[in-house]
Amino acid sequence: MTDYEIVIGLETHIQLNTTTKIFCSCKADSWFDPPNTNICPVCTGLPGVLPVLNQAVVEKGMLLAAAMHAEIQPVSYFDRKNYFYPDLPKGFQISQYDRSLARGGYLDLPMPSGYVRRVSIHKLHMEEDAGKTKNAGRERLIDFNRCGVPLVEMVTGPDLRSADEAAQYLIRLRQLLRWIGVSEADMEKGHLRCDANVSIRPRGADYLNPKTEIKNVNSIEAVRDAIEHEAARQIREVEAGNRIEAWTLEWDEDAGVLRKMRSKETEADYRYFREPDLLSLPITDEWKERVLAGLPELPLERRARFMQAYGLPEYDADILTGERNLSDYFEAAVQAYGGDPKRVSNWLMNDLLRMLNDTGRTADQLKVTPQYLAEILKLVDANTVNTSTGKALLAKVDQSGKAPRAIVEEEGLAQVSDDSAIRAVVQEVLNESPKEVESYRAGKVTLMGWFVGQVMKKMRGKADPSLARGILEELLGGG
């Protein structure tokens, strides 16, 4: 039985989050708008109109190219890709063919089992989106809102070796796009669309076999499922002695099956030629420098730095570089705190992240700022409040926006560390719970936690729990 390896290449279309479309001043985001409301003569391809390039599109393209470690070209060109479809009003799409914005590039995928898959980028170019066709009974309705929305198309080399890797690519890409702020990359809204090219070969072979193309898979799970199904199908076919044909397939998510698509044009002849309505696009070093100055430290770079400089474990570093606001928050908190970054990390990952998820916010929207978090940690470190009070302070600061110290004072939350005060309460608890005292002295030492809890309850959480425990142990006789 042959051992096969799966060879996957991914083609993604990324919707840039500029305010206007690529070649006209219509609003680019039509998600909440009725059909055909963000249109104009240019994006509906009326006779006599001309495209004019949106500067923000080029600049976001440049950021993306740099984040993918690709070489931004000093001159690039637009080309017409000619084909007929009702949602393509001009009968051609303005794209970039052989002299696109950037060349080369790669994306590294750290995989859970510890290795890193480097995925090469073969194509990175700008183009305009087409409209949307909707089936309505026997007929089809066309909405041109999406026409002219700016896209970056990226094509990887056949470098992925499993459905999981393909999923990772999309996860990392989505993270990166949001991180550098060029796209919202919400697959459900179509901001990130993916086609997968799949083939198989005997493990160790270096040639490529015919591939099939799986089009328009709309979620990361769907990409994983579709690729797994297709790889399995190809293996079955090959084992049965059949050849793999270069089909185009679509994934039916509900039914969990792949379907062969009608081939639109047997071999589409796009008759690419230089777009005469747009001049060639020179990108000077000055312009490039200016734009790339806005490129932040990238997620994987920061992840490595967090592990190295802050000594964080990979798990923490991953979460803390998953999303930019959270990551920036963490770093600011560490700077403000000055103590062990792992401590900041724990509080962030356990408590603050939950708060964010519950309220659907990002870290920059918290009223408990990094500085306030640092203050809370220092209060706990200094034993001014105990840990559970400290955690409760998070919510209080977030609600009121007031400084932690101010709240501690106002509400009298300072920890009680006075031996005699605690001792008195401990004595009370012991007096009130003779049965438990007896159990404890008989050997049920797990009751200590309960005793501490009772003391904390009576002292409204303000007791220094370690002091309380110490006194309890003393009075109970060590157990």
């Binding site: 003569p41 509906t44 391809g45 009326l46 006779p47 006599g48 109109v49 001309l50 495209p51 004019v52 390039l53 017409r80 000619n82 007929f84 009702p86 009003p89 001009k90 009968g91 051609f92 089809r140 066309i142 002849d269 008759r271 690419y272 030629f273 005469p276 309505d277 747009l278 001049l279």
Partner: protein, 493 residues
């Protein structure tokens, strides 16, 4: 008859409008009356916009009146002037057919930048003129709607594709008409109709609102009865436009056409343009005109544009290639009459099969072929390289001379129907005009004589990029010393 008003030059008409000697309404009404009377024979217009024109005329008159009361008032420079607009240029709310059935009902929701600028300058638009379908043709016979007749001989073509505009000016129905020139479509009809017309430098004038044919070649121009009049209108059309990325941001000079002579001007005569096959009367008139330029003080010398003979095959590969893409939008989805179709592909095939005329289909197919897989290198790519050679020919020549004087067409106006069965023969009419479009240089056409049948002969002056000023000045000087441009077809009266 108020027809005499239409004999006024634009310069003179504006003067009289300003002084109140004539009103725009009178002038516009004269124009509309001329249309009534002459259109049955000439057929230059596809759409008349009489109501709009009279409204614009009245508005113009009100503004003039107000200005006469207030000497500080600034009046738009072309206020009240009746012009025609070629039906390839969008004018909001007015049907724009491009000479094609596929746009039979198309009403553009916007106005072309050049038209908008002239409207802002105060013109009155009396109608849209006939054109070869999508500007593809050299006789206006390819219009899907009607034949336009040359006012000098109604059995003959007015030239094309701006035949309607040229005829409208020659027949003195309007004082100026907008045209377009992709391969000679302003200059050749100007020559056939004995009027003056400018093809600007590519990039001098906005193409926004000009229905595209050959995007790297298309220009918007204007026709009138003299260089001076042409310049007066052109002045307000030219200039960079934010809606057209191929319009250059160079300032538009003031085209001052002072009198004087041509001393210091170096005129080049390209030997490749005086070949066998030119009608003798054409060559004679053009050479006489060149001698006239010499008499006016110009220095004339021979120049060489060695790749001239290749302009035709280059053009007839590049222009159709661009057109095949530009015309792909006519698919029956968003505009166009849509024949019955069961099936989406039928919508496309039937709309286009029925809506386009034979010349358009021919060029679409030629262009599609030149771009198609396996043929791109030998045809399209090759043509683009030869285009570089043609452009360099001009750049070299303009190192030695300031303008190049040449014939516009090998013949005077031919008979209607003469070339219909032979597309290649029709294409050969364009040999002298195509090079300027390929090189992007400006060309000014003006009448320099008549042939024995009384048909006009035109000459063109081609200039360096963005040097329309020298062309206007030279032609103006010529027109001060000659009177070909003042002649009028006798039956017009």
């Amino acid at each position: 008859m108020s027809r005499a008003l239409l004999d006024l030059s634009i310069k003179e008409a504006l003067h009289q409008l300003r002084s109140g000697e004539i009103s725009s309404r009178e002038l516009t009404q004269a124009s509309l009356d001329a249309l009534e009377q002459l259109e049955p024979s000439v057929q230059a217009f596809l759409t008349r916009t009489a109501d709009m024109a009279l409204r614009q005329a009245d508005e113009a008159d009100a503004r003039y009146a107000a200005a006469r009361r207030d000497p500080q008032a600034v009046v738009p420079p072309l206020l009240g002037l009746p012009i025609a607009v070629k039906d390839l240029l969008a004018l909001e709310g007015v049907r724009c057919t491009c000479g094609s059935k596929i746009l039979e009902n198309f009403v553009p929701p916007y106005t072309a930048t050049t038209v908008r600028r002239l409207l802002q300058a105060g013109v009155v638009v009396v109608g849209k003129t006939n054109t070869d379908e999508f500007a593809m043709g050299s006789s206006t016979e390819n219009s899907a709607y009607q034949l336009t007749h040359n006012p000098w001989d109604l059995e003959r073509v007015p030239g094309g594709s701006s035949g309607g505009s040229a005829a409208a000016v020659a027949a003195r129905m309007v004082l100026a008409a907008m045209g377009t020139d992709t391969g000679g479509s302003v200059r050749q009809p100007a020559s056939f109709c004995g009027v003056t017309g400018i093809k600007p430098t590519y990039g001098r004038v906005s193409r926004y609102g000009l229905v595209a044919y050959g995007s790297s070649l298309d220009t918007v121009g204007v026709l009138a009865r003299s260089a001076e009049d042409t310049a007066l209108v052109f002045q307000h059309m030219a200039g960079q436009d934010d809606l057209d990325a191929t319009s250059m941001d160079l300032p538009v000079p003031e085209y001052r056409l002072e009198g004087g002579d041509l001393r210091g001007l170096r005129v080049g005569v390209p030997k490749q343009y005086f070949i066998q096959g030119i009608q003798p009367a054409v060559e004679e008139a053009v050479r006489a005109a060149i001698r006239q330029l010499e008499l006016l003080g110009a220095e004339v010398r021979e120049v060489s544009l060695p790749h001239t003979e290749y302009a035709l095959p280059v053009y007839y590969l590049l222009a159709p290639a661009e057109a095949s893409a530009n015309l792909a939008r006519y698919d029956g989805v968003r505009f166009s009459p849509r024949p019955e179709a069961e099936n989406l592909w039928d919508v496309f095939f039937n709309t286009r099969g029925q809506g386009f005329g034979p010349e358009v289909k021919r060029r679409i197919m030629l262009g599609t072929y030149a771009l198609s897989a396996g043929y791109y290198d030998a045809y399209y790519a090759k043509a683009q390289k030869v285009r570089t050679l043609i452009k360099r020919d001009f750049e070299t020549a303009f190192e030695q001379v300031d303008v190049i004087a040449a014939p516009i067409a090998p013949t005077t106006a031919f008979r209607i129907g003469e070339h219909t069965d032979d597309p290649l023969a029709m294409y050969l009419e364009d040999v002298f005009t195509l090079p300027a479009n390929l090189a992007g240089v400006p060309g000014l056409a003006f009448p320099v004589g008549f042939d024995p049948q009384g048909l006009p002969v035109g000459m063109q002056l081609m200039g360096a990029h963005f040097d329309e000023a020298t062309l206007f000045r030279t032609a103006h000087c010529y027109q001060q010393a000659t009177d070909w441009h003042l002649r009028k077809p006798q039956w017009i009266g």
